[in-house]
């Protein structure tokens, strides 16, 4: 059974490593290596996460008591606008693309992304966009009409400064970065898979990145068009959104949400992919229902384009039954995934590492967020809860309890792949529990506030009912979340300085990224295993049994 095939003309002629004379900083600045670009994505995203987190703390401090204490109303408007914009466009979307950058080529056995230079371009637009966005503060005021920038608010009262225009330009850059990244991921996944790595043998994180990239590719240009129209209205005297000139205000909302609803899935599907990598490894079982998971992912992606107007129920201009039913429907594939995950963990040998704790955190918190959303899918309920803190609770349970927990699961899971060293488990667990408690202290009471009718985006509130007490509880929770990042930072610092190394495959993972060394060489792989299933490392370890039952282990992978 000699299956070794020499493929002399297959690879690059020389070693693709960068010439040793180059200064390390220059090597990073000019790199087209998907791994280095991935790391830069992560570092850049965490930086903006910290900035946006600081803004969130300011919001919570202001809301700790009725009245306006520390920020003027205008400053408060800028705070929540910049917080939302930064979290979504400079943190969650890019950090998931960062994991994708590092991990997807390794998972499918590729040398790099399909277009390495385009990849570098995609990355470098992001810090530039962040600087442009925040330079609004230097021009007398940042964008202030909320991250949704609805006209006519973004046209008239608070949008008179340059801040809103800088916001538009920053988002145009980030959108272009996303689109180029999407083209890159799809091409990489379609054209760069290793021999034997069929589509249905791809790890689920690669699948979720593929569907995410399709969403990015088809949805992001639509918000680009809306941004361009807003720019024309604001600066060139256009009349798209201003009713006084014959324009239509709701037009913005339709185009904006046609992007921004699929963007919700852009922000959570890769998180679901990360969790689907972490749970099987730490339950010592394959993922239950691989194909069902793949089709559920595709289903969420497809349905994601038909639910945008559920953000606009109260405008009175959308067909309520249609968008309501489609929104309820989207809970079905999400439910399928929950059964996948629960059945994966069921009777597994569960290993409670920090990565796995964060994956469980994702399951429980995202479930709450999802159920919150199903409430809002019903128009009568939505009419009551629209623009209250219920919505804020929902979106934070989905994006923080969902995406951010998944990001941390991915960070603790793949950190040894990035550096060759595991993060410290004790500090990791401290980080997890502080964050879990802080998160729920902050956002669980928001449900109550929403039901009591407290409106979002207002810097002041009346000192009646239990509003003050609930708000103070949330502020304590928000500070606890800030504190919880201290053990994380300490952990990364201590681990990076540690001299000794952990095993190449410390979690005993079965997907292809664990086949190579940790961290991988510049060319990723010195060799590749035969790929017969979605768990090539498992097959290689149990090759003895495999020779007898060669076909029995390809679980649904044919």
């Amino acid at each position: 059974m000699a299956i070794t095939e020499a493929r002399p003309e297959a690879g690059p002629s020389g070693s693709p490593t960068i010439s040793p004379q180059r200064h390390p900083i220059m090597a990073w600045l000019t790199t087209t290596d998907h791994k280095k670009i991935g790391i830069m994505y992560l570092v850049n995203s965490f930086f903006w996460f910290a900035v946006a987190g600081l803004l969130a703390e300011f919001i919570r401090v202001e809301l700790a008591q009725p009245g306006t204490q520390y920020f003027s109303e205008q400053q408060y408007n800028e705070l929540f606008t910049m917080h939302g914009t930064t979290m979504i466009f400079l943190f969650i979307i890019p950090i998931l693309a960062g994991f994708g950058n590092y991990i997807v080529p390794l998972q499918i056995g590729a040398l790099d992304m399909a277009f390495p230079r385009v990849n570098a371009l995609s990355f470098w637009m992001l810090p530039l966009a962040g600087i442009i966005l925040y330079s609004g503060y230097l021009t007398g005021g940042a964008a202030c009409a909320g991250w949704t920038e609805y006209p006519t608010v973004s046209l008239q009262p608070c949008g008179t400064g340059v801040g809103t225009d800088l916001w538009i330009v920053a988002l145009l850059l980030i959108g272009t970065s996303s689109i180029l990244g999407g083209v890159n991921f799809i091409t990489t996944i379609f054209n760069m898979r290793a021999p034997g790595m069929t589509m249905f043998r791809m790890p689920l994180f690669a699948w979720t990145m593929l569907v995410t990239s399709l969403l990015v590719l088809l949805a992001t240009p639509v918000i680009t068009s809306a941004l361009v129209l807003l720019l024309i209205d604001r600066n060139l005297g256009g009349s798209f959104f201003d009713p006084a000139k014959g324009g239509i205000t709701v037009l913005w909302q339709n185009i904006f949400w046609f992007y921004s609803h699929p963007a919700v899935y852009v922000m959570v599907l890769p998180g679901m992919g990360i969790v689907s990598e972490v749970l099987p490894v730490f339950s010592r079982k394959p993922l239950f229902g691989y194909k069902a998971f793949v089709f559920a992912t595709a289903g969420i992606g497809a349905l994601g384009f038909s639910v945008w107007a559920h953000h606009m129920f109260t405008t009175g201009t959308v067909l309520l039954p249609f968008f309501s039913i489609m929104t309820f429907l989207i809970a079905v594939p999400t439910g399928v995934k929950f059964f996948n995950w629960i059945a994966t963990v069921w009777k597994g040998k569960i290993w409670f590492t920090t990565a796995n704790l964060f994956a469980f955190g994702f399951l429980s918190m995202f479930l709450i967020g999802g159920i919150d959303g199903v409430f809002l899918a019903s128009p009568p309920v939505d009419f009551a809860l629209h623009d209250t803190y219920w919505v804020i609770a929902h979106l934070h349970y989905v994006l923080f309890g969902g995406s951010v927990f998944a990001v941390y699961a991915g960070l603790y899971y793949w950190f040894p792949k990035f550096t060759g060293k595991r993060l410290h488990e004790g500090l990791g667990k401290l980080h997890f529990w502080l964050q879990m408690i802080g998160f729920n202290l902050t956002f669980m009471p928001m449900h109550v506030l929403g039901l009591l009718g407290m409106p979002r985006r207002i810097s002041d509130y009346l000192p009646f009912k239990d509003w003050t007490g609930i708000n103070q509880l949330q502020t304590v929770g928000a500070l606890l979340i800030a504190v919880s990042t201290a053990p994380l930072l300490a952990n990364v610092w201590i681990t990076m300085r540690r001299k000794d190394r952990d095993p190449e495959n410390p979690w005993d993972g079965n997907t292809l990224e664990w086949w190579t060394t940790s961290p991988p060489p510049a060319h990723n792989f010195d060799s590749l295993p035969e790929i017969h299933s979605e768990r090539p490392l498992f097959d290689a370890k149990h090759a003895d049994e495999l020779t007898v039952h060669a076909d029995a282990t390809t679980t649904g992978a044919r």
């Binding site: 070794t4 003309e9 379609f190 324009g247 239509i248 037009l251 339709n254 185009i255 590749l528 035969e530």
Partner: protein, 205 residues
Amino acid sequence: MAVADATVRETPSGPGHERAGGISSSLLGMVLFIASEVMFFGGLFGAYFTIRTAAPQWPPPGTHELDKWYALALTVVLVSSSVTMQLGVFAIRRNDQKWLVRWLIITLVLGTLFLVGQGNEYRTLFEEGTTLRSGVFGSTFFTLTGFHGAHVFGGAAFILIVLLRARSGQFTARYHDTVEMASYYWHFVDVVWLGLVTTIYFMSQ
């Protein structure tokens, strides 16, 4: 039995990724990019139709009527340039570098002619007082045709680069993905124009 060895595919020069058949990465990337461009223009067209159907009368009273024959002439120019571009692609598929260069030059001339023609129409409209600021008609007209014109300009720049590379003999029957990419993009720009002409010029009543 050397089981462990048997599961390792030795690849001295790195794992290979060449595949028989399929579509090359650059062409696939171009198709995907064009898909995103389609969605961009979809957003613009969506805005156009929303505003148009909401307006009490279209075109709004007092709007100067667009010259359909002029638009038709521009259409003939742009569609012919698409044909000449494709003839260039056919030429290089036959490994005919000389005719590739010739067809590219003709395409570039036609593309430039289209842009000049569009600029001339803009000048006429400006003189009559129809501008981006003059209301919903001006806003939609100049935004949609303007973004299309910008894409024609981008496509022409692409073709110019391809032309310079073709003149130095960089393309052969086997290696000419860039030529194909430019042709995909150029045809896309052409199709967008057909949509624009139909909706803006001919569905005007």
